[in-house]
């Protein structure tokens, strides 16, 4: 059968099933890649939010500036890596990623508002790490498990 000849309905359905199975493999690869990338980025941003509480500007201006600088680098690297990794994603994946990434950034910004409190409880600092990481982390785990 030539690849250019028209097919009858049964052949069309068979060809369609084959094409979708082939594409499913490519989609799975793209989804897993972006998923692992999301997990790493979420944990890094969460860790920076955690460290920010340990180095508030009132006490450690140099440390604070370094952490903010690392945050900017992480965001820039995340944006560049996303553009490089972006290949084929299942329907809805990029929207979920955007939501997860945006919420993690918003939570990170919200953690800045806690700096005057000078929190020192490890449990609360750990909670900040988890909360900031959670949106993008959940999206990433969902993509890897797909």
């Amino acid at each position: 059968m030539s690849a250019e000849n028209n097919l009858n309905p049964e052949q069309q359905l068979a060809a369609l099933a084959q094409a979708q199975a082939d594409m499913d493999r490519a989609v799975g690869y793209g989804s897993r890649l972006l998923g692992w990338y999301s997990i790493i980025v979420s944990l890094v941003i969460g860790a920076l939010a955690f460290l920010l509480q340990l180095y508030p500007p009132q006490k450690h201006m140099a440390g604070f500036i370094v952490i903010i600088g690392l945050y900017v680098v992480a965001i820039l690297a995340a944006s560049l890596a996303y553009r490089k990794l972006y290949r084929s994603l299942p329907i809805g994946a990029s929207k979920r990623y955007t939501w997860g990434f945006t919420l993690t950034i918003v939570f990170y910004a919200a953690s800045l508002a806690l700096l005057p409190q000078q929190l020192s409880s490890w449990a609360i600092l750990g909670l900040i790490w988890i909360v900031v990481s959670a949106p993008l982390l959940i999206v990433g785990i969902g993509m890897v498990r797909k």
Binding site: E4, N6, L13, A15, Q18, M23, D24, R25, S88, L89
Partner: protein, 99 residues
């Protein structure tokens, strides 16, 4: 009187390569040229020719851009293309008795 399913088959998708492209794109938001080519096991020229034909019919939208300094092409189904393809697949299932 309802239209028989075979009359609802869309000739734009009867070519096996175009059918495969539509089926593959129907699973994703957008696919880059390389992923699509590798997934479907077809050459650059064949994929390019059929994507252009589907774009002319309004079924597919093609976007060109750069990743770093490298040019890259992405394709996705237009809303009309997705709707037309869904109708075609439904008609195929009815014709073959799978619906």
């Amino acid at each position: 009187m309802t239209t028989h399913a075979r009359n609802r088959l869309n000739d734009d998708f009867s070519n096996p390569v175009r059918l495969s492209i539509m089926g593959a794109l129907n699973m994703v938001e957008e696919a880059d040229f390389k992923s699509l080519k590798e997934a479907l096991g077809i050459s650059d020229s064949v994929l390019s020719r059929h994507l252009s034909a589907l774009e002319e019919k309004g079924h597919v939208k093609i976007r060109k851009g750069f990743v770093g300094k490298r040019p890259r092409t992405w394709a996705k189904l237009s809303p009309e293309g997705r709707s037309a393809f869904t109708g075609h697949v439904q008609a195929l299932k009815e014709v073959t008795g799978l619906a």
